[in-house]
């Protein structure tokens, strides 16, 4: 652990962070409440941010420098587009409270799945089956809540289905030592097939029941509206007051996972198994058992993402409901460098990009589509090492053979 003073940004790093702030400002000046109507202002401010970013990038502060450059370009783009749209439309797109609420709703399924992926990958087992595990959680939570009439049992049934998928993945990749990527691909196929089959079989063409379905309750935090000043209270209320229970479970889980993985003996065992299983085995850690536990837990958490999506957010199921969210979660995990808080920030960023895409539909359908691709572009840039390398656990993807 380094001392606190060393952890504060200094020198070029501080300059680069200032550049990020300037980049954000470029977008802010055109938006309500400031609302400049002239494209020159965001262009100049965006260019300043770009210059600051490039300067600190060249002088060695690559990661934050790149952030500043990105912020500059994005700030300019948003600012420029905003000045060209009509004021009415702009107000429809940018209602900050609603945008943040929507960001959180999009980020939460990703967060659960990314944290699930974290356990599996930290133990050395690649999990590209997150998508399939989420999908299982989605269907079985709705079906469970429908059959039992209780959302609690629905959640449990959904999580159990994820655990079963995790067990299958664990059995094939750990015990049978088959290729983990092939196994994950198979999980995705199987989950899509099984859920579509059961959906058609049970619900046919009518869709899942909407009347009287017991769903995960929202947590009412209406006191947030009373926080002075009114603007702040309104924003906090819009953003947080009506969120689902699972949103707060997800927030708590980030801290819990951080403590579990980095601050407990069990977490140390988990990471050692993922970095150097032979050494872990030598000191008496059961590599197989640790990996099994991690992969099954990964299935449970990933399916929790699907459970929230179906039973907390949308309140129904349709075939292939997750539509690639498992892969965005994988991207968030990698972008966040296999760390809980990094993954959480990445989930918020990707969730924001989805939320923005959704609200931009009012303004332009085609531009909003491009925002959907942003998470994947950012992740490629991250793994390419342009903004600080993402380093996976050393033994990831390699099956362990006990001697």
């Amino acid at each position: 652990m380094s001392r606190f003073g060393e952890r504060m940004p200094q020198g070029w790093k501080a300059v680069a962070w200032a550049g990020v702030a300037v980049g954000v400002l470029a977008a802010l000046v055109v938006l309500p409440p400031i609302g400049f109507r002239n494209p020159v202002a965001p262009t100049i401010i965006g260019l300043i941010a770009l210059t600051i970013g490039a300067g600190s990038f060249i002088r060695g502060e690559r990661r934050v420098g790149a952030y500043a450059m990105t912020a500059g370009v994005a700030g300019f783009a948003i600012g420029y587009l905003a000045t060209r749209s009509s004021v009415d439309k702009l107000d429809a797109v940018v209602i900050w409270g609603a945008l943040f609420a929507s960001t959180i709703r999009f980020a939460t399924p990703l967060l659960f799945a990314a944290l699930g992926g974290l356990f599996s990958e930290r133990s050395g087992v690649v999990n590209i089956g997150l998508e399939g595990m989420m999908l299982m959680g989605s269907f079985f939570s709705i079906w469970g809540a429908d059959v039992t009439g209780s959302w609690t049992l629905g959640v449990l049934i959904g999580l159990a289905s994820g655990a079963v998928m995790g067990l299958i993945h664990a059995f094939f990749s750990i015990t049978l030592r088959s290729d983990q990527i092939v196994g994950g691909t198979a999980i995705n196929f199987l989950a899509l097939g099984i859920t579509s089959y059961l959906y058609v079989r049970i619900y046919g063409t009518q869709g899942t029941p909407s009347e009287g379905l017991s769903t995960i309750p929202d947590i009412s935090l209406n006191f947030l509206y009373d926080i002075p000043p009114d603007r702040l209270g309104g924003f906090l209320g819009d953003a947080l007051a009506g969120q689902d229970l699972f949103v707060w479970v997800g927030v708590a889980l980030v801290f819990a996972v951080w403590i579990a993985v980095f601050k407990t003996p069990a977490g140390l065992r988990l990471r050692s198994v993922g970095e150097y299983p032979r050494a872990a085995d030598t000191v008496g850690i059961n590599v197989f058992l640790t990996r099994y536990a991690a992969v099954i837990l990964s299935g449970i958490l990933a399916s929790a993402g699907g459970v929230y999506l179906a039973l907390g957010f949308i309140n129904s199921f349709e075939p292939n409901q997750t539509a690639g969210r498992g892969f965005i979660a994988l991207a968030a995990l990698i972008f966040g460098n296999w760390r809980p808080f990094g993954a959480a920030v990445a989930c918020l960023l990707f969730g924001f990009s989805s939320a923005l895409a959704k609200s931009l539909q009012e303004y332009s359908l085609s531009v909003s589509t491009l925002f959907e691709a942003l998470p994947y572009v950012l992740t490629i840039i991250a793994v390419a090492g342009v903004i600080g390398r993402s380093t996976p656990p050393a033994s990831i993807g390699k099956p362990y053979v006990k001697q």
Binding site: V182, T185, L192, G193, I194, S366, A373, I380, V401, Q403
Partner: protein, 409 residues
Amino acid sequence: MTTVNQQTPTPEEEEAQGALARYLHLQKAEGLLAPLITALLAFLIGGAVVFATTKSVPDVLQTYRAIFEGAGLDWFLPWNTCQDPCVPAIKLEQTLLVWVPLVLTGLAVAFAFRCGLFNIGGQGQYLAGAIASVIIAAELPLHVDLSPVPLVLLCMVAAMAAGAGLAAIAGFLKATVGAHEVITTIMLNWIVIWVGTYLFGFEGPLQNDQAKEIPVSNNIADGAKITQVGVWGHPDLQGLPWISLGVAFVALVIYSLLLNRTTLGYEVRAVGFNPEAARYGGISVARSYVLAMGIAGAFAGTAGALDVLGWKFRLDTTDFSSTIGFIGIAVALLGRNTALGVGLAALLFAALQTGTSTRNLDPEIFPPELATPLTIIIQGLIVLFVGADIVVLLLLRRLRRGRRAGAAA
């Protein structure tokens, strides 16, 4: 590290090779046996799903028979006489139409496999090819007057270049900064999907000029269509895709020759077996990674072009959710990365796809709306077991080694 027996690697060495390397090493060992067992096992478990639906064993057999006939495979049975219009022939044509892109996306995965790379981006490369060819075939004839042959060739080349370029990004990142190709190809898949949705979706720059209410591209020019008139079956129906079939066969031959008869192929395989040894032997590993991915992408891109020019004639944004590139993974795995194997595995998956389609499956025997999920389950089971068939092979080898040791003592 020296061991008592140079022939058999220690478990530690085996571990260092990783599952993929061991898989590559063993894939030639057991020929046709393991894939057959794998497919049978998958169909057996798939049969359990059918049984759960139909609730009787004879119905399970009936269902598989209906799928077999839905795919038109009964055309091959010599005792089967066929009236005019010949229904099995028409169905077989559809199977072959699906066979072509499956062969090519299968080869895209297989070629990268032989270089030790897992190309999960067949989907994106296929779509990149489809997008490139639809843009050229629909937009270029509006500005330039081109006769059919150069137009089709141009579309094919553009599609190959698009697929190759996309895949080469992943190869380049692997070669230069060591970014894992599985991650980068997954990300590239989704980037292509969203760029395609942007181009041809609502208000997109290349959305259909006439039909603004549906998210499709413009229709391709008539000159760019490579469909053939009905040689078989009914004249009104889709004919046998001679040109596409030809391209797929040529691709299989090129794949085999390129890998086994050229310096490039030797280098690719050497890197696939052991990159360190290949580097020591003077082979540029980075160059092999980029080239192998590029060639793989060119195969998948060709598939996209053939589908667009052969029967789609335009791209719908729902086309982006097809799983043809992912089935390519199953094809390559089941076909053990050999040309013959890929051809046969693609036939199995194409028949499964066509045989369970709503149009071809007899609704009296199995509800067609359940048939597509059933197909996906069987595909998943095949991938699952194919991934594990290394266990069968390892067990066989252990047994033999044990027997050899026993004989020596």
